[in-house]
């Protein structure tokens, strides 16, 4: 099958998935208990007021009509108004999403910086005590509940040692000095020329990002290790050694690069799954991201917001999966199988 045919097929699949997702989310939002109109108006509202708002919100229309309206809104980027914040859901999401994305990105960085070298070392000392040691660490990191490690970090590095702050994105004393260009604090602080604030943001983001990176780190470690071992045993590596190339060059330039491909794809999948996992870490560290917004929305039956957040994450998921398919299909179809077996 040609590359573009493969792509088209995956794209079609993705679209169908999104469609199915929209239907499920729509149904869910309509069975949410409670009358959202009443929620929006508050406890003192009169019956007529509630009826009126219910009608205004279109909730009295037949279900299929509501769905059409909903799809129309989705496609034009109109997710309705949050009953809580009384603002467009899209505006809310745009405000809170960068914090979550920042957290996830730094988390992946940490996963790479720590996980890959450890995997390489483990591969080199295969079956040695370093290998077993890293394997144990990998087990730990994959088994520990995300929120729990977050709490542990807070206890040890925050309360006990006082090395890191335990909540928030940045100390409030800087908030007047930073202009929000992008919403990504790490970028904005630099753009505003506030070096101290920039360092302060790193100080805040480190613990939550580390906690979030735990789960993926074990996987990456192991995957790097096994890929390295596989590749190392290949003929061309032997040949390179035979040519007298120094060991470290062989390791890093040739072996690692090829071993990297499945790792890369797993990283992509990881990015997607972190979107879901970031929720718990955000709660523990009071991170002002999408998680808190989403959970508050669910708790308050703010169905526009629930729909908005869920659709967003679903779209991100599907989008990233598609991107991976694009990369993978390009590189080597066999890799797909390897990925599926490894995860």
């Amino acid at each position: 099958m040609k590359y573009w045919q493969y792509l088209a097929r995956r794209l079609g699949g993705g679209v169908i998935s999104l469609f199915g997702l929209s239907i499920i989310i729509f149904i869910v939002s309509r069975i949410l208990p409670g009358n959202p109109a009443r929620m929006a108006l508050g406890a003192m509202a009169s019956e007529e007021q509630v009826q009126e708002l219910t009608r205004e919100m279109g909730l009295t229309q037949p279900l299929w009509k509501q769905y059409l309206g909903y799809m129309q809104g989705l496609l034009t980027g109109n997710l309705g108004q949050s009953l809580e914040t009384k603002r467009a859901v899209t505006v809310d999401i745009v405000q809170y999403l960068p914090a979550t994305l920042e957290l996830i990105t730094v988390s992946i960085l940490l996963t790479i910086i720590i996980g890959i070298p450890l995997g390489v070392i483990a591969a080199q000392s295969k079956d040695g005590w370093i290998d077993h040691g890293t394997r144990l660490i990998a087990f730990f990191s994959v088994s520990v509940p995300g929120f729990f490690i977050g709490i542990l970090f807070q206890l040890i590095f925050g309360y006990l040692l006082n090395w890191f702050p335990i909540t928030g994105q940045m100390s409030s004393r800087f908030s007047g000095e930073v202009t929000h260009y992008t919403g990504f604090l790490l970028i904005d602080t630099l753009a505003s020329g506030q070096l101290l604030a920039h360092l302060n943001v790193w100080h805040h983001i480190f613990l939550p990002a580390l906690a979030l990176s735990m789960a993926g780190m074990g996987q990456i470690m192991r995957l790097t290790r096994s890929s390295m071992i596989d590749v190392k045993n290949q003929d061309y590596v032997e040949a390179e050694r035979g040519y007298g190339l120094p060991d470290w060059l062989v390791t890093y330039k040739y072996t690692l690069k090829n071993a990297f491909i499945p790792t890369l794809t797993v990283l992509g999948l990881l990015y997607a799954s972190l979107l879901g996992n970031a929720f718990l870490i955000e709660l523990v560290f009071s991170w002002p991201g999408l998680a808190r917004y989403g959970i508050t929305a669910v708790i308050n039956n703010d169905f526009n917001a629930v729909v908005g957040v869920t659709m967003m994450i679903g779209v991100a998921f599907v989008g990233i999966n598609f991107l991976i398919d694009m990369l993978v299909g390009r590189v080597d179809p066999r890799i797909r199988l390897q990925i599926e077996e490894a995860t």
Partner: protein
């Protein structure tokens, strides 16, 4: 003391763990007018556990909304620490002999934040807006006052003519926050109110049009609100008052503790866990104040739903509960409730027979009524994230188990609870509710909770629906003579207790953590009126 309000119901989203809509310790979005950056300006920082749904004076009802409104706006009258009404925007008032017409003199030196002076016309406009939008507390005066009967007699005199005698009328005026007519009409968007457009709802969603002590500085619905001192406030300012006030929504106890101890917070909300207050007491630079209120914690029993529709069952429940443990362990500092009205009210009936913890009596009552163990199953609902209520629920479950009643606990969100309250069938058998008067009069305690007309809100989850009670409340409203009224109030309390309409658990002593250098806190028995930041000073 004519005790009055405390805080109304909604115990908000106090968290006992990693849940709730908390915000960051140091939020990047809170555009706080950071007092620390500029040391000549002082900032007062407090946390709240519930977001500010709206700051529109025609719509605000709960404790955070009222807190915001009474700082940005003024009412005609103001409740003092005893619950009496003193002049505020109105310097003086008189009541006609038939008790139907109230005439107020508006002070001439008051100005809105826009610079416009406060006139009788603004008062009239406020009432019209209140009734036309018809949300918030508009229902309090429906049927009592028609907007046409509010007249601006001259620039600074306004007259209210009621449809019938309504003794709590003056008290309800603490909730009528006067808006700047010219400012609002300059900022209307398209809406359903003809040439008044949307009545400025969109504008007032994010701005203030008041004359109050503080102006709105920034507003981030989910996370914070901040106010700046209005220098030209007609009352003037005490020395060392605060230039800025910042209220942040923080629900996590550990965060609040940390912030108080490192000085980044000056005052905690009243909804922290008892353990937090304990820790704060031992923290240097911080004190914890215990403030008796007139808010009562009720276990509202659904009078219309079997099996709690049987008075015997309700009696058993009332005698089967360990009030003392509840008070001493779960809500330390609180006082035993006696009937529906807080004990510090002047009209409190000392002679009611308040049930005590007597499991034998409870079991006897059930046996006499023909119930055996395991026959009775009821549901108990409370706010999911509320630490205290969870403990109370577990205690309740254990106590009821001992007398043979099986209790199923169903924690809910506050939103769902208010939803369940709207129908008799949906309202669970027992519910945890705090209620305190929203205006300084016992009328609010009775009318909102027990009158059939006020049915279907979280305040009336006991669905009492008793004709006698209804007519007694109506009579009290029509009675102008204070003593006669007091007698009726006494009868209402007695009857509610005899019916075992609800469980009256304790009168709340609320706790606040405060920085040692903050003074001026004054408790007033009307919802959120102790959070008038004009009082507060840096010592």
């Amino acid at each position: 003391m004519v005790g009055t309000a405390g805080l109304a119901g909604c115990s908000g989203q106090q968290s006992s763990g990693g849940t709730g809509g908390g915000t960051t310790e140091d939020s990047a979005e809170a555009d706080s007018n950071d007092g620390d950056g500029d040391s000549s300006e002082s900032t007062f920082r407090m946390n709240a556990v519930q977001r500010f749904g709206t700051i529109d004076p025609a719509k605000g009802t709960d404790y955070t909304q009222t807190m915001a409104l009474l700082n940005m706006y003024d009412g005609l009258v103001f409740p003092n620490a005893d619950g009496d009404l003193v002049p505020h925007l109105a310097t003086d008032w008189s009541v006609s002999d038939d008790n139907l017409t109230y005439t107020f003199q508006i002070r001439e030196d008051a100005t809105f934040h826009s610079g416009n002076s406060v006139r009788a016309e603004d008062v009239k406009f406020t009432v019209e807006r209140f009734f036309d939008i018809n949300q918030g507390y508009a229902s309090l005066l429906s049927g009592v006052l028609d907007k046409e009967n509010v007249t601006a007699v001259d620039e600074h005199t306004v007259e209210f003519t009621l449809n019938r005698v309504h003794s709590p009328f003056l008290a309800t005026l603490v909730l009528l926050f006067i808006v700047d007519k010219r400012e609002v009409l300059n900022n209307t968007s398209d809406g359903e109110f003809g040439d008044r457009g949307d009545y400025g709802q969109e504008y007032l969603n994010n701005n203030d049009a008041g004359s109050g002590a503080y102006t709105l500085d920034s507003f981030e619905r989910q996370s914070s609100i901040s106010f700046a001192k209005y220098e030209d406030y007609w009352m003037g300012w005490p020395e060392n008052s605060f230039d800025n006030v910042e209220i942040r929504i923080i629900t996590e106890d550990p965060t609040v503790r940390t912030l108080m101890s490192n000085g980044e917070l000056d005052m905690t909300s009243q909804y922290q866990s008892t353990e937090t207050y304990g820790t704060l007491q031992d923290t240097s630079g911080v004190r914890v104040e215990q403030i008796p209120t007139v808010t009562v914690f009720y276990m509202k029993v659904n009078n219309q739903k079997p099996p709690t529709d049987d008075p015997a069952v309700r009696e058993a429940i009332s005698y089967g509960f360990d009030y003392e443990t509840a008070r001493t362990e779960i809500a330390p500092g609180s006082m035993q409730a006696q009937g529906p009205l807080a004990t510090s009210f002047g009209v409190h009936n000392e002679n009611i027979d308040q049930p005590t913890y007597d499991p034998e009596r409870a079991q006897q009552v059930l046996a006499d009524a023909g119930y055996s163990e395991g026959d009775l199953q009821i549901v108990n609902t409370y706010v999911q994230s509320n630490n205290m209520e969870e403990k109370m629920a577990l205690l309740f479950q254990q106590n009821m188990d001992a007398i043979g009643i099986d209790v199923e606990l169903q924690p809910q969100t506050w939103g769902t609870m208010t939803e369940l309250a709207t129908s008799v069938e949906d309202t669970p058998h027992t519910n945890h509710v705090f209620y305190g008067p929203v205006y300084p009069s016992p009328d609010t305690v009775f009318y909102n909770q027990y009158h059939s007309e006020a049915a279907e809100t979280w305040m009336s989850m006991s669905h009492v629906e008793d004709n006698q009670i209804d007519s007694m409340i109506d009579e009290a409203r029509a009675t102008v003579d204070a003593d006669a009224r007091a007698e009726i109030y006494a009868d209402i309390q007695a009857r509610l207790t005899e019916m075992y309409a609800e469980m009256f658990v304790f009168v709340q002593a609320k706790q606040h953590g405060l920085s040692d250098d903050v003074g001026g806190y004054t408790y007033r028995p009307s919802q959120s009126y102790d959070y008038w930041f004009h009082d507060y000073v840096r010592e």
